[in-house]
Amino acid sequence: MTSRGSGREPQESGAGLSWTGRSRRWLLKRLPPEKLLPEGQPSYVASWIYVFGIGAIASLIYVIASGILLSLNGPAWYHVSGLGRFVNSSHLWSVELFFMTMVVHLWGKYWMAAWRGGRVLTWVTGVISFAVSIVAAFTGYLLQTNFDSQWIAFQAKDALNAVGIGAWFNVVNLGQIFMWHIVLLPLAVGAIAAFHVLLVRVHGVVPPLEAAESDAQLQLTDRERSDTKSQGGGL
């Protein structure tokens, strides 16, 4: 994203390296261990509004753990036994918590314009994780195998057919939707969320609008914007 960083590189010693060596160099430059696992954060991070991203991660971990329990035991357990129905319900409620924390997180990031200073991709991966999470939740509702899910499926199939994907994503094919819900979509949400958090670590937490001067990246992109003609970070 941030051009090549050519000016900051002390020596261009990557010439003789293999692709693994070049990848290592690139990764260590972008995300050195002290940025990946920092011990402190800027003072402005001491606010509840910064807690909701971690809240979303915590909820997501519970969603996935309870989902693994459900898939290990199957519907004959989770639709029938007391414990099964408890785990099934807690799976649903942790999804509710996941979405609520994600939306409050989204509002917070929106009102502090957290895409500033070369952080556009963080915002964009957030948007994608939100969209993919909605599809994951949708397939979950289809798996209730009750009148609600039947209603949802038959409303949705017309929309999906109208946009031409109904043949590949067939909401009345329960087996297919099951696989989307327990394999593909959890992997997708997990991978995007992990990438999202890595990006936050790469760029560092964005300062509040009033403290914009305290951020090296904001200064850097400003300079780069005037150096290289425009092309500076989207939005």
Binding site: I49, M100, W107, N146, F147
Partner: protein
């Protein structure tokens, strides 16, 4: 899910793997089927659950901005 065990008289139709009744009205997940509760103001219509979730999120957002974060002195 339940299966009819061959040889039973058939009055309590569905029998689970360990002989428990599987589908009864008390334990069925399919009991709460109704149209749902809707709130409306003029043209605006919203389902009660959705309304609660949105209000809760707004309240949490407000509290997150208003409440002091523990363990830090608010110097700036």
């Amino acid at each position: 899910m339940g299966r009819q065990i061959a040889g039973t008289s058939g009055t309590s139709a569905f029998i689970g793997m360990r002989g428990k009744r599987v589908f009864s009205t008390e334990t069925s997940p399919f009991t709460a089927i109704d149209g749902g509760t809707y709130l409306g103001w003029g043209n605006f219509l919203i389902q009660l659950g959705n309304f609660i979730v949105i209000v809760v999120m707004l309240v949490i957002f407000g509290l997150a901005l208003a409440l002091p974060f523990p363990g830090t002195k608010r110097s700036k």
